[in-house]
């Protein structure tokens, strides 16, 4: 066969809006994917990247329709085929790996049944061999004990295992092209790195083409040969991965790259202000004009075409030759940090938390049901004005610790004291109004934490009335001031949360916390639900508030680069136990705890010249070991029996950098330097 495998020509997809006008979600998109080629589609939420990938399968979500253009797979128009023909191709020659496998696997069917179904529909295998073939596929996606996985239901697998099972299912029909819709979003860093390596290997071995949709430039850098950048339903830049990530010539791509926090750069990322136009909201001109630093009058009146350059790139910008003026990396603010000694704002004294409460039966039988606590032995002091970052994978107990500090989850052992050495009551009901005011919590998802039926004014007025007894004009004026502080105007006061964008909602959530004039703000994954360009703005805001208000933060995130950008000190947690604690520059540099080393090694930078180091497997542990080091089962630098039986001691590094390990600091430094040298060689 000659010509591209997937040939998308000038498609536009839209839906019918309230005013019965057709609003475009995709506008005049051309995309060609050759056999064996791997293409990344990058963009923020709402850019139409998933819609484009699904359109390649001849599938549009309900409500959407094809306005113009054609999609051909192996030379045949996908939108002109019958349902039976499509059923043949989908899952066969052209397979999808979905975003959230937990929700994309049918909950009432066993993994084995779903795999066998895929084989029955698409594989050229006799029926008697279905189950053997299914087990083989599960083995190929590196699932341990495939025969046992066959009999499991989807909810009995971890997120990474579900994703592997979905990949196995996609491979059942021996596809020539794989579409991947954010396949690693929501997975832990180590799991993500492992899944990406698996996908790279499989695609290379089978010569499969891949269309990889993601907002994560790090993942794209690792997997793709070519990258397409989408903005507001248009392709704005296309080129080789190196061209797009190293020397992008579109202002949006440069802004996007600059807004990504990086491990290697302690400065704050630069926010891309504004928001993309809603479908149908782009005027006659360039859709990026409102956020573009290079915009001129001409950009407003006519829409630039996608211009193909001799270098192989394609760009939709009148002024792409000037784009190199825009900075690519953090010229952002230096994180505010305190200098000199400061009194303690929060002290966790051997904090232990157990989710299991002794039940009636346990009490009757006199059983000790508490078992191994979920979180144990947390001993940290946070100085006033300092930001403490808590990092770790899911299940590391970082959010649990925040809940205990906030009083939502009473600890089973240890004490929490605030400034002045006052102990906090374990339950929030028993805390004094003053303590309640001084500690504020900001949640991950503002959609869940803001009451959708209250206006922004009502939301902000609650703490003001409760803690300061403000009424009338004073109340209104204060609410407007607080909104102004999070860079939202007073005209937002009458709006409902549903009328705000994700970033604006999170600003309101931040404003609500700061309305109480707290001493200590607990941030639980506050940027995880946001797009990178918006995330940068929120980080900048938090940093600003810290500088002006002297607030103390405890900042929890699974994203190591985000934590680095904001934190003075970082604590690394595994299975609810501390592994490493110290100033962020020291924690992010070697020597480090073997777990920190694994975590840092798995982080993907948006740079095609870097590769992750996978030194431990990504097995999910459900509960911490009863004794010894919490990381004993996965540790790549395990010494031996001592790690299983003895709790590791704190090894003192420079300044107040400490590592909880049986290896001495010097040993770790030597081993890790050797490892790094081996990598380079």
């Amino acid at each position: 066969m000659t010509g591209p495998l997937i040939d998308i020509r000038n498609i536009s997809v839209g839906f019918t809006g309230k005013s019965s006008a057709t609003l475009p979600v995709l506008r005049n998109i051309d995309l060609k994917v050759n056999a064996g080629e791997s293409i990344g589609i990058v963009g923020e939420s709402g850019s139409g990247k998933s819609t484009l990938a699904l359109a390649a399968m001849g599938y549009l979500k309900s409500g959407l329709r094809l306005m113009e253009g054609s999609v051909a797979f192996q030379g045949q128009d996908m939108f002109a085929r019958t349902r039976t023909e499509l059923e043949q191709i989908r899952g066969g020659e052209l397979a999808l790996i979905p975003q959230n496998s937990g929700q994309s696997l049918t909950p009432t069917l066993r993994i084995g049944a779903q795999l066998v179904e895929a084989l029955r529909l698409h594989a050229d295998v006799p029926e008697a061999q279905y189950s053997a073939k299914a087990i083989e596929l599960l083995g190929q996606v590196r699932l341990p004990d495939p025969a046992a996985i066959m009999t499991r239901f989807p909810h009995e697998l971890s997120g990474g295992q579900q994703q592997r099972a979905a990949i196995g299912m996609a491979l059942a029909g021996e596809p020539t092209a794989l579409l991947l819709d954010e396949p690693t979003t929501g997975l832990d860093v180590t799991t993500q790195a492992h899944i990406l390596e698996l996908l790279r290997d499989i695609a290379r071995d089978r010569g499969m083409a891949m269309v990889y949709v993601s907002h994560d430039l790090g993942a794209i850098a690792r997997v793709c040969d070519r990258v397409v950048v989408m903005y507001a339903g248009e392709v704005v830049l296309e080129g080789s991965t190196r061209q797009v990530l190293k020397t992008p010539i579109h202002p949006y791509a440069r802004g996007l790259l600059a807004s990504i926090p990086r491990l290697s750069d302690p400065r704050l990322p630069v926010a891309l202000d504004g928001r993309p136009p809603a479908p149908g909201g782009a005027g006659q001109g360039c859709s990026f004009i409102d956020r573009c630093a290079l915009a001129q009058d001409g950009c407003r009146t006519s829409r630039p075409d996608l211009e193909r350059l001799p270098s192989g790139e394609a760009v939709r910008c009148f002024h792409y030759q000037e784009a190199h003026q825009l900075s690519l990396t953090g010229s952002g603010a230096i994180p505010a940090s305190l200098d000199g000694a400061s009194p303690s704002a929060l002290h966790l004294d051997y904090l232990a938390i157990s989710y299991r409460r002794p039940g009636l039966y346990d009490k009757v039988l006199g059983r000790d049901s508490a078992g191994v606590p979920t979180v144990d032995g947390i001993e940290i002091t946070v100085a006033k004005g300092e930001t403490l970052g808590l990092v770790g994978e899911s299940g590391s107990g970082k959010s649990t610790i925040l809940k205990a500090i906030a009083g939502l989850l009473p600890p089973s052992g240890g004490k929490i004291t605030v400034a002045g050495g006052q102990a906090l009551a374990p339950e929030v009901e028993h805390r004094s109004p003053d303590h309640l005011r001084k500690i504020q919590l900001i949640f991950q998802n503002p959609d869940d934490s803001l009451n959708p039926r209250q206006t922004i004014a009502q939301i902000l007025e609650q703490p003001l009335k409760l803690y300061f007894g403000l009424t009338g004009d004073a109340l209104h004026q204060r609410s407007a001031e607080i909104l102004d502080r999070v860079r939202l105007g007073a005209h937002y006061l009458d709006r409902l949360p549903s009328q705000l964008s994700g970033g604006e909602k999170q600003r309101v959530a931040i404003a609500r916390a700061f309305a109480a004039e707290p001493d200590l703000v607990l941030c639980d994954e506050v940027t995880s639900a946001l797009d990178v360009s918006v995330q940068a703005a929120v980080l900048d805001l938090l940093n600003d508030l810290k500088a002006t208000q002297g607030t103390t933060y405890v900042f929890v995130s699974h994203d190591l680069a985000v934590v680095r950008a904001l934190s003075d000190r970082v604590a690394v947690l595994y299975q609810g136990r501390l592994c490493e604690l110290g100033p962020s520059a020291d924690v992010y540099a070697m020597p480090s705890h073997p777990y920190t080393e694994v975590l840092l090694g798995a982080v993907l930078e948006p740079d095609p010249d870097t590769a992750p180091t996978l030194s431990a497997d990504d097995v999910v542990e459900l509960s911490p070991p009863a004794q010894g080091c919490p990381f004993q089962r996965r540790c790549p630098r395990k010494i031996g029996r001592i790690c299983d039986t003895d709790t590791p001691p704190w090894q003192q590094g420079v300044k107040d950098h400490t590592i909880k390990c049986h290896h001495s600091i010097a040993d770790l430094a030597a081993a890790q330097a050797e490892g790094a040298a081996g990598q380079r060689a």
Binding site: G91, L96, P98, T106, L121, F153
Partner: protein, 319 residues
């Protein structure tokens, strides 16, 4: 798993026990007792005292509750206040008749409701959905006695096809209730079908919009296989509980229908017993209906647990 079943069973027994106390207390608080009802105007002085002594009504309430509860637990519901007849025998016939009515209505209504619910869910907002959903709203909102009367008017008065009233005696065997039972079954079916189908419809719509249905489509699974294999097992789970509530309603709450059609079921017996002040019978029926509610809901929960892998493994892990 077993521990969890035993726990639920134990909680069910406790519920029935508490309900029995409430029933007893409620009847106790009513002015008058079965003696005042039995003796009517003669209920005073020596005669009343003798009657109360004969029936043991002058003993303390706690003692009488204990006697009643223990014998009820053994299946002995006492003796009806006026007829000297064993309540177990009286109620037994009526319970059988109510079960017959419920079974017929369920056999007709549940499959019909699920079928219509799936059809309306799959063809959402199409003519078939609009027609069926509109009819269902009518069936739900028109009071039962109105629809019963209309059916009697049409099928028995005008057309003369079916008897409009049940004349068979309460203790007759089940076969003799045909064809008299047909009209009451139709009315009950209408009401319950409407309820169940609306629930099934919304559940089907929700499941069909889910990620795993999109995934199955993009895996190349044929449409009808998606419907039967991927969607329905998930969409029908919530129906189990609605059917259970319907069963409980059919066995204890269809008083109006039984009165309109003169059907000798539990509900009508309850009404009669209340107007006769036959308090032992009232107590017995209330207790039976409560027990049925508990049993049916318990079975529904257990069934849901078995049908839903998520719940099943959750309880297995807990032991």
């Amino acid at each position: 798993m077993l521990a969890m079943l035993l726990r639920r069973l134990f909680l069910g027994l406790v519920t029935v026990w508490i309900v029995s106390m409430i029933i007893f207390a409620g009847v106790e608080m009513l002015p008058g007792d079965s003696c005042t009802a039995f003796l009517e105007r003669e209920a005073k002085g020596k005669l009343l005292e003798n009657c109360r002594e004969a029936q043991g009504l002058n003993r303390p309430a706690a003692e009488r509750y204990f006697d009643w509860a223990t014998s009820a637990a053994r299946g002995d519901l006492g003796i009806s206040a006026n007829g000297e007849k064993s309540i177990a025998e009286l109620v037994g016939d009526r319970l059988g008749n109510s079960l017959l009515l419920a079974a017929c209505s369920l056999a007709l209504g549940v499959p019909l409701a699920i079928f219509l619910g799936v059809v309306t869910g799959l063809w959402r907002d199409r003519p078939v959905d609009l027609a069926v959903s509109t009819l269902a709203i009518f069936a739900m909102t028109i009071p039962e006695f109105v629809s019963a009367t209309v059916l009697i008017l049409v099928f028995s008065v005008w057309l003369g096809w079916l008897p409009g009233i049940v004349l068979t005696s309460a203790s007759a065997p089940a076969s003799e209730f045909f064809p008299e039972i047909i009209l009451p079954v139709l009315v009950l079916t209408m009401v319950m079908t409407a309820h169940i189908l609306r629930m099934v419809r919304s559940s089907v719509i929700e499941v069909m919009a889910g990620d795993y249905i999109q995934m199955a489509t993009l895996k190349g699974v044929p449409y009808w296989r998606i419907v039967f294999w991927h969607a329905l097992p998930n969409a029908l789970l919530p129906a189990i509980n609605v059917v259970a509530l319907t069963i409980a309603w059919l066995l204890g709450g269809v008083v109006v229908i039984e009165v309109v059609f003169n059907y000798p079921g539990l509900g009508r017996m309850m009404i009669d017993a209340i107007s006769d002040r036959d308090l032992p019978v009232v107590q017995a029926i209330a207790l039976i209906v409560a027990t049925v509610y508990v049993c049916v809901n318990l079975s529904a929960d257990i069934l849901t647990m078995f049908a839903n892998p998520r719940l099943r493994t959750l309880h297995m892990r807990r032991g």
